[in-house]
Assembly symmetry: C2
Homo-oligomer: 384 residues x 2
């Protein structure tokens, strides 16, 4: 059990998150769902053995269809292209990302990518050999993209709701961006993995994209919503006109996902549509309020994403350095995420922020918040 | 449910396998385990809800360590480097393959790859931009590799036991190959995903590799052994001296695998070590005997891999074309795998062979064998 690194040698956000897993620590680092199961969810887990028998008996594509319809339906994504074979299920959204990146690089050498965003997106895109051009979040949301940008890239990649900011691209803005991508022959790729948390992101994205005529790809994810021990599905959904070798590369890496996980996703999504998702959104809102209250009287601290509804929350630590605060609370067994690596083009822009996970039990969240509060209030070297 | 392609447009073996999933057909196509659970395995599945509670409670790295020790131990792979953080768990062995390929291409432009082998290996390697040089199976097993080959590649990649042939690299031969790779500074990569089926492959590979001083990577897999509905772990195990960005790329794609799957793997491996693996080997031997008996009197048919113990079996269909036989039995709802794509460098060498899966219930296997037997005996156009 030597995975506790003696010094900080994390190269990316995931390696920072791994540090939090390696000990019996307070883990507010990763954005995976780690809250308790609700009563309805516990009932589904209790039925896993009978779901196993069902999954072993029935044709896998039939189960996959049901899971797709329930999950996409819960998200308000009613026009999914399952029947056309274009909802490709993957073990995770990051694997969907890898397949997309490998597909893009066959026809393109550059991607315009939202800034900031979770660093495994730029790292995977760069890892396959793509050059990245940053698109500031404000720019993506507020104005047309410049022609000189669209002329030099094969794809525009937007995370909505964004991780870590929670910012959601509106239907009107998505429509205009898609029109621009259609005009320039550029693929519009969306990562919507956090959209279950925000009703504003639960409109029919594919209908908007199709209406524009642009080539598009969307990555969907069950993995952020429910505390299912990393049993999850990422979907990679390309448009009919995408003209990338996505299906081939998908089939190089997998024959299919687990019918047991798909059955479980169907059941969880049905419960979600029946009130479970609204309950989750209330839980996250409660946790966000709890966290904000805990820091209300700490000088120099602010919550930068006022309207965020996603399951992570950014804290600006004033004139302190996020890494100093990270080190201080780590010595008390609390793990959070320093934000510089979200700002993949200009890390210094994130160096005074931390990201905290909200998808935890309230007791864990409160205990972690109190450790962080004490560190911010007490340690003289952390004074803002 | 439009995934039944009207004509054969499969680009790779996995797409051929997908055809078999899309219907309520007799599926002898893919090599995934689809036999019934044994009584001991059923007991483990029945305990999934309590294993869920356990996995949610305990630190994930502790569960991962137990799963690694049980699984590697069952395979006779006693010297695993878990404590050094070098047993990287992945959602599947193909994902481990993708991560390895992405790592190799950062320092190398060519790989020497065993021929034949399952086509997703060459497709993934080529997909990241690597050039492939075939190493004939006989050559890899019988003689030193030529200097001119080793001088032009960054990696030698061997599947042992091989898929589809079942051929196992002996300890003595592995030692010599590793010495050659050490001498030329070439990474020796092994895919040992089928080694649970063959006791001859259950020696301590890592000890042999380490003793040679070569840089090495091994891909291990739980996915072929047990009928666990695609719940599986692939492990990517690099040597300490590998000098490739494997850990970084792994962390770009995943934070970790499911602790529930890891707990299940531990339980299945403990049962395997306690007699379950020997029982599985007997089952596969029985199925192989059943299949061979069914075709004993069919003219022009032969089983080419006499000593194979893996869960797939190749059938030479004489002067017939495998694709013709494939089409004939497909019309009767039986799916098998035509072999030309295993021969990734010279497909014609596989065009008179089919691969049949043995990890099925005997009734499915027998029903499929009888359809195939009739097709081979009756259809005049298929006469050898």
């Amino acid at each position: 059990m030597n995975r506790i690194l003696p010094t900080v040698s994390a190269e990316n956000l995931t390696q920072f998150e791994t540090l939090a897993l390696a000990t019996s620590s307070m883990n507010l680092a990763d954005g995976h769902a780690r809250q308790q199961l609700t009563a309805a969810q516990s009932k589904i887990v209790a039925e896993l053995p009978s779901m196993w028998a069902e999954a072993a008996m029935r044709p896998a594509p039939e189960i996959e269809q049901e899971a797709t319809e329930s999950f996409f339906g819960m998200l308000g994504q009613h026009s999914h292209p399952f029947a056309a074979g274009r909802t490709l299920s993957c073990y995770s959204s990051s694997l969907a990302m890898e397949i997309l990146a490998r597909s893009l690089v066959t026809t393109s050498d550059a991607v315009a990518l939202i800034h900031p965003t979770f660093d495994n997106i730029p790292d995977i895109l760069r890892g396959v050999g793509l050059r990245l051009v940053p698109v500031e979040e404000e720019q993506a949301h507020d104005e047309d993209l410049p022609a000189e940008l669209l002329e030099q890239v094969g794809c525009v990649f937007i995370t909505t709701p964004n991780n870590p900011t929670g910012r959601v691209m509106s239907e009107a803005r998505l429509r205009r961006l898609a029109e621009q991508c259609a005009e320039y022959g550029v693929v519009l790729a969306l990562d919507t993995c956090f959209r279950g948390f925000d009703p504003d992101a639960q409109f029919d994205h594919y209908a908007v994209l199709d209406a524009s005529g642009c080539r598009w790809v969307v990555i969907e994810d069950t993995g952020k919503l429910w505390p299912t021990l990393e049993l999850k599905i990422g979907w990679l959904v390309p448009s009919a006109n995408v003209d990338l070798p996505i299906e081939k590369i998908h089939s190089d890496i997998l024959l299919g996902t687990s019918p047991l996980i798909l059955l479980m996703v169907k059941r969880l999504a049905d419960d979600g549509a029946d009130g479970g998702l609204a309950e989750l959104q209330r839980t996250i809102a409660d946790h966000r309020a709890l966290l904000r209250a805990e820091f209300a009287d700490v000088p120099g601290i602010s919550f930068v994403d006022e309207h965020a509804r996603v399951s992570v929350e950014r804290l600006h630590v004033g004139s302190r350095l996020g890494m100093d605060v990270w080190s201080a609370v780590r010595s008390q067994n609390l793990y959070v995420l320093p934000c510089q690596k979200f700002h993949w083009a200009r890390p210094h822009e994130g160096e005074r922020m931390l990201r905290l996970a909200l998808s935890r039990n309230p007791s864990t969240l409160l205990a972690g918040a109190r450790v962080l509060r004490s560190a911010l209030l007490d340690a003289p070297e952390l004074q803002g």
